[in-house]
């Protein structure tokens, strides 16, 4: 801890990050190709959509809190769950993770920018316009009062509901086109990340010395090529069906609705891993720094990530056990799904072994990281339950499934994201987030989370199907739904505190300095916020923890690796 001096000394003090003011600022942000600014735009844009989609979730929970409720109309309810799911996956999950990736990867590998800065800006803006297009649907057709032409086909948009006959008007087109745009942006950014990681590393930053975050985003980006492209292809087919009268998913002309399911889930399941690997990546950086130990089993972590990448491409049809694929198909996908838990288990043990015997500092990022470890394990366990085909036949499309995947997405990914916010906020803004507010946020959110999603499993086991607009009293579902609704409100309050903390700390937070956490990766070796060229002198690294080497020249890592 005592040795922060070398880092401070090392920074190019002549050129701190400068901010122009006035109308020039808007122009600067609109035209920027700087990976840090684009990263911030990705994150802010995703946060706005997070709040929107969170509000939609609240409306749904209010509707379901008591039986026979008519808070919203059935049509509006359908639109709510469609928009909630699509927004969270395509316009919150992917952009926020890519935002952090964009911001951190060049800094972590000692580069001055991404490989293709202009492609980076293009990818961001096309994704952003995709999200805006999706929400413009609220103003189309009958306008806001009737929720406009917002899509109502569910986030996986099964055929033949999406056919022109069954979904007239343009609501489905808004969905298709915005997802298509998001897919193009995602692919563009993924190309950029792979090229950056392979071609832009600073001297000495060999593949085996890269921070694990960089490794995991590399794996994620490779998965994007093979997983997002099928979705893009399927959206092209759907658009052809709707506009040119082709018959890909037109069951009347011999087309197959099941083919859409396959194409969608070939994207849809790897997508879960595309979202969760960056979450793992954050945990990989945060856990060692707050346990004051190097990560346990670096190469096992890399191998497990690559393993997850490959295996996750062969598990998609576990979303389709109820379709009737026959024993051979079912067996294969049951087996493949269970196998994914092996590399995931390796990661879990490595994190625990990293914490084990460390001097753990319970700051807000670490608390969220520990919440992640616990909840992700639980989510994995219900996942293994659902991977058994007969169990899935019973519970498919019930609230048990909804509870399971929200455990992954909220309990796992969102917790990791919150940890990442508290951890890297000082680097991005130059100021610390408030610890007090952070603790309030953590405790409210974790209580709200468990109220909501622990108890959501139960109505599922009792047979409550997902996507129902309302239900009769006396089925034993009402109390559980009420608790779930209350939990959602608690989570909302926690999130409001978080947003307040983000804004408040930007103006009033304690000045962070370059390395507030006494961390070891390269991004902490430059000023906070970093100057536009990142590093005054190109770094030259000799180990996985270049800043450790710098702070402890008497005992550098490079003499052990």
């Amino acid at each position: 801890m005592a040795k922060e001096a070398p880092v401070l000394e090392a920074i190019d003090q002549t050129a701190p990050a400068s901010h122009s003011s006035g109308p020039g600022v808007v122009y600067e942000w609109l035209t920027t190709v700087d990976h840090k600014k684009i990263g911030i735009m990705y994150i802010v844009y995703a946060l706005i959509f997070l709040v929107l989609a969170g509000a939609q979730a609240l409306l749904m929970r209010i509707q379901l809190a008591v039986p026979n409720n008519h808070f919203v109309t059935p049509q509006v309810f359908n639109r709510l769950f469609t928009m909630h799911g699509s927004t969270m996956v395509f316009f919150v999950g992917i952009p926020i993770l890519f935002g952090f990736g964009n911001y951190l990867i060049p800094l972590m590998i000692g580069a001055r920018d991404m490989a293709f800065p202009r492609l980076n800006a293009f990818s961001f803006w096309i994704s952003a316009f995709g999200g805006i297009l999706l929400y413009l649907s609220y103003f189309a057709g009958s306008g806001l009062y009737g929720a406009g032409s917002a899509p109502d086909v569910g986030w996986f948009a099964y055929a033949p509901l999406t056919a022109k006959v069954f979904s007239p008007g343009h609501s489905t087109d808004y969905w298709t086109l915005s997802i298509l745009m998001s897919g193009i942006g995602t692919t563009g950014t993924a190309i950029n990340i792979v090229a950056t990681v392979i071609c832009m590393r600073c001297k000495g930053m060999t593949m085996t010395r890269m921070p694990l975050l960089v490794w995991l985003l590399l794996v994620t980006s490779c998965m994007v090529f093979v997983a997002v492209s099928p979705l893009t292809a399927a959206q092209i087919m759907l658009t052809l069906d709707r506009y040119l009268g082709s018959h890909f998913f037109d069951t009347q002309a011999g087309g197959s609705a099941v083919l859409w399911m396959h194409f969608f889930w070939i994207f849809g399941h790897p997508e879960v891993y595309i979202l969760v690997l960056p979450a793992f990546a954050f945990i990989n950086e945060i856990v060692p720094v707050f346990s004051r130990k190097a990560i346990f089993g670096y190469s096992a972590m890399v191998a497990a990530s690559v393993g997850i990448g490959f295996i996750s491409l062969s598990v998609w049809a576990h979303h389709m056990f109820t379709v009737g694929m026959g024993p051979a198909g079912n067996t294969f996908f049951v087996f493949a799904t269970m196998v994914v838990s092996v590399p995931t288990g390796i990661k879990m043990f490595n994190w625990l072994a990293t914490i084990w015997g460390g001097r753990v500092r319970f700051r807000t990022p670490m608390m969220f990281a520990i919440g992640f470890l616990f909840q992700f394990l639980m989510a994995g366990l219900t996942g293994i339950m659902l991977s058994a085909a007969p169990f899935d036949w019973q519970l498919s499309a019930s609230y048990f499934v909804v509870a399971h995947f929200h455990y992954v997405l909220v309990g796992g990914i969102l917790f990791a994201l919150f940890a990442a916010f508290y951890y890297w906020y000082p680097k991005i803004t130059g100021r610390m987030m408030s610890e007090t507010l952070g603790k309030w946020h953590f405790w409210l959110f974790i209580i709200g989370f468990h109220l909501t999603f622990d108890f959501m499993h139960i109505p599922g086991l009792l047979g409550m199907p997902r996507r129902i607009y309302t239900y009769e009293a006396g089925r034993g579902w009402e109390y559980w739904n009420l608790i779930v609704g209350i939990g959602a409100m608690v989570q909302a309050i926690g999130t409001l505190i978080f947003v307040y903390n983000l804004v408040h700390s930007y103006f009033r937070g304690k000045i962070a300095g370059p390395d507030p956490w006494d961390a070891w990766t390269l991004e902490w070796s430059t000023a906070s916020p970093p100057p536009s060229y990142n590093f005054a002198v190109e770094p030259n690294v000799g180990s996985r923890r270049p800043l450790w080497d710098l702070k402890h020249p008497e005992d550098p890592d490079s003499s052990y690796e």
């Binding site: 880092v7 293709f116 792979v194 093979v226 893009t232 087919m237 002309a253 000799g542």
Partner: protein, 201 residues
């Protein structure tokens, strides 16, 4: 002494020359991977729907082997390769000629596809709406043709640069990136040809 942040005691091997791959080439390979996945889905749909059309016509009744187009497209791969290797040796004029031939061969391929579609649509009355065969045929071949169009645009622009003397040896690597894309488009045609015109018939 001003110490740079990460000038740390380094091990011996990082003193070795530090050479990383060209980012354009890596980026293009990534794009090819993504595009290949898109084509794969369309090919899967084509094969899955083979023989599942509820009404005629069948592929065997109306499709003819596009031999001329195939020869043109495949040989354009050779000429674009020639363009790259000429530019690498600094022979700009040779490169210009090779680019011109590539553009002509690509355009000839497109013309044969256009002629085939014209024949099918106006003489056979066979469209994307006719049956599943029409759906998958036009979308797969059309997807490929649209990639040929994109490649031709880039090649034409490069050719124009080259004619106006703005292309030099230093651009060899960039032209190689473009040639990679063009080789990919050709390779996809081999698959499309086998699936649509050989297996499909």
């Amino acid at each position: 002494m001003m110490q740079t942040p990460v000038t740390v005691p380094v091990s011996v091997n990082s003193e070795a020359p530090w050479v990383l791959p060209n980012r354009g080439i890596v980026g293009m390979w990534c794009l090819i991977a993504a595009e290949a996945a898109i084509f794969l889905i369309f090919v899967v749909a084509y094969i899955y729907y083979l023989g599942k059309s509820l009404t005629g016509p069948l592929p065997a009744q109306i499709l003819e082997l596009p031999i001329v187009g195939t020869i043109c497209l495949l040989s354009s791969s050779l000429t674009v390769h020639e363009a790259v290797s000429a530019l690498r040796k600094g022979k700009v004029q040779r490169c210009t000629v090779a680019l011109a031939v590539t553009v002509l061969l690509g355009a000839a391929f497109l013309w044969t596809t256009a002629a085939e579609w014209h024949h099918l649509i106006y003489e056979e009355g066979f469209t994307i709406r006719t049956n599943l065969f029409g759906t998958t045929y036009y979308s797969l071949v059309g997807l490929h043709a649209s990639h040929v169009v994109v490649g031709l645009i880039f090649l034409t622009v490069t050719f124009l640069f080259s004619v106006s003397g703005r292309l030099g040896e230093m651009h060899a690597e960039r032209l190689e990136v473009l040639s990679l894309y063009w080789h990919f488009v050709d390779a996809v045609w081999v698959v499309v040809f086998l699936v649509v015109y050989v297996l499909g018939r």
